[in-house]
Amino acid sequence: MSMQTDASLAPPPANDPALPRHRQLGLSDEQVLAALAGMQRVRNVDDRLWQLSRQGKAHFVITSAGHEAAQFGCAWAIRAGHDYSVPYYRDMALALALGQTSLDLLLHGMGKPTDPASGGRQMFGHFSSRALRIVSGSSSVGSHIVHAVGLALAFRITGEQDIAAITFFGEGATSEGAWHEGMTIAGVQQLPVVFVCENNGYAISVPAHREVPVRDVATKAAGYGMPGVIVDGTDIFAVYAAARTAMQRARSGEGPTLIECKLHRLRPHSNADDHSKYRPAAELTALAQHDPIDKLRDYAMQHGLLNVERWQAMQQQLKAEVDAATLAADQVPNPPLESLYDHLYGSAAEA
């Protein structure tokens, strides 16, 4: 059932420094353009959700703007439906990169019964699909790390090889007790699991230096017996290179890795937040320079993968797509009220 999103299944990388970076990594032009389109698609959904929240049609928005390259870069190293992904609420781009659609995300955001993540039960940001092996999570920060560790433990018990679990979290989550417990178990057992920290410098309003006692989250890895790697999380190729190495290490029994992606949260934490209250004005102005979509678009243009006309056409098509998805999602009626009681327990037949 593997959905071939894994770029590492492509021809082996040609390590020729004369080649553009994506080529060096074994990525085709099409793959780069597909990622760029995907990142823009997610951004459009993000934009749309903020709009819908002002119209009272989506009650909660948690942005992935600024995190797209980190999530798409990792997705290239994940075989969706084979490897397990254990995401957190910031990972809309990851969900889309692994195979969910704009419509899926909008159904989720609008709390519709056909929301594939939760049937309209969870607030937006709780991406899930058993088919894609995207594990359902709670909103409790840091509580999901241990699930990725348990999945990796299961691979060890069943003797499955060439499979890994990968989990995602913010730098703020690395303060939670459960995070440290997960890292400890993974390190002690040297399990096939990859930890990806999307370090955007803030836990809601609290700046990283008030939540993480070291400058780089990656240095924490040493205390758990695993390597820690720092990458520019706005550079999709740097992220992919690190994620691919880490996933290969995990799959081949060499143990866990902690990857820290340094990046920027381009928008407030959620639609309930006003980040101008705690982020300096100069920092807010400078955010525009850290947009990973701009960065990949510029790269694609520089290397002749894209020109202005094609980019504009792509944007128009994506805009039409999000409009259509919004319309479709909006038309889905509310669920029957009795469905509130569904799915609390399974039936004996299931066992």
Partner: protein, 327 residues
């Protein structure tokens, strides 16, 4: 007397008590520059500084554990848990540590901390920003569990909780924060812990409730009053330990009891009150004790129709009152 919202009343309690007592300080996630995600602590950081209004990492066990440690040295910490749903990582610290410190040291050590947390549904918070988690704590001797329903009580009870010599878990219904206004005096005053308040006197049915549900219950009582059903509404205010005298005195007068809470039916405080009444006022009863509570599902759903279906409201309470009156 100045009018304040429920939220402003809590802020005013913190400011007045921190001004009066240098031992009092606040710690929690985003409580500093941002002023808390609901803005309860807005302005405190500017007024009292980073030393007494402390932004903490996302580590609930650490927040409550550190509060306990500071209390051991004589300080009066007020820890904020951002949402009651996230108190779970701190449960070990609250139940195994804070609640038992005095008892396990034969009174040598004490633990005068307050743990504040917003709870309750109705703001589209879905499974993890809506829970009522009070029942986790209402069977733990050594703890006190307080849930105010009015701005006046919110301030008076919070100051009483800070001054109390033992650990208090203080839940604030987030729907009340901005919708509920009332007269709240300037300066410090206390409302005693462990005492319920009769908010409406009546002769036929005693309705026991707390938090947001008090207001829906009062509305419901008015609705059925026109139909000749006379309801006494009791605001429990402290859920542990319960004010047994007020509860029993009321039901001995009215002979019928309805308990209303947003927490799940099973395991909610309603079961305890029902048992209390059957044990001590059985011979006064004219009807079985009734409970009206949220359904036994994990929490409210995000979908707004399901959320509305999940939530109790004045109509549902009035319906239960009519049924009980007709018994």
């Amino acid at each position: 007397m100045p009018e304040r919202t429920f939220l402003e009343a809590i802020r005013s309690a913190l400011i007045d008590e921190m001004t009066t007592d240098q031992r009092v300080f606040v710690l929690g996630q985003d409580v500093g520059v941002k002023g808390g995600v609901f803005l309860v602590t807005d302005g405190l950081y500017q007024q009292f500084g980073a030393c007494r209004v402390i932004d903490m990492p996302i580590a609930e066990a650490g927040i409550v554990g550190a509060a306990i440690g500071a209390a051991l040295h004589g300080l009066r910490p007020v820890a904020e848990i951002q949402f009651a749903d996230y108190i779970q990582p701190a449960v070990d610290q609250i139940i195994n540590e804070a609640a038992k410190l005095r008892y396990r040291s034969a009174g040598d050590w004490t633990c005068p901390i307050v743990v504040r947390a917003p709870f309750g549904s109705g703001i589209h918070g879905a499974l993890y920003h809506s829970q009522s988690t009070e029942a986790l704590f209402t069977s733990t001797p050594g703890l006190k569990v307080v849930i105010p329903a009015t701005p006046y009580d919110a301030k008076g009870l919070l100051i009483a909780a800070i001054r109390d010599p033992d650990p208090v878990v203080f839940f604030e219904h987030k729907q009340l924060y901005r919708t509920m206004r009332g007269e709240v005096p300037d300066g410090c005053y206390t409302v005693p812990l462990g005492t319920a308040a009769v908010r409406r006197t009546g002769r036929q049915i005693s309705l026991f409730t707390y938090g947001l549900m008090l207001h829906h219950s009062l509305t419901a009582a008015e609705q059925v009053a026109d139909e000749g059903i006379d309801v006494e509404v009791v605001d429990l205010r402290t859920l542990y330990p319960l004010d047994r005298e007020t509860i029993l005195a009321s039901v001995r007068n009215t002979s019928k009891a309805l308990i209303v809470h947003e927490d799940n039916l099973t395991g909610g405080i309603g079961g305890e009150i029902s048992a209390l009444i059957s044990e001590h006022a059985f011979e006064y009863l004219d009807a079985p004790v009734r409970r009206l509570a949220s359904p036994d599902v994990p929490a409210t759903a995000f979908n707004e129709a399901l959320e509305a279906h999940f939530m109790l409201n004045a109509d549902k309470i009035a319906h239960a009152l009519r049924e009980l009156a007709a018994y």
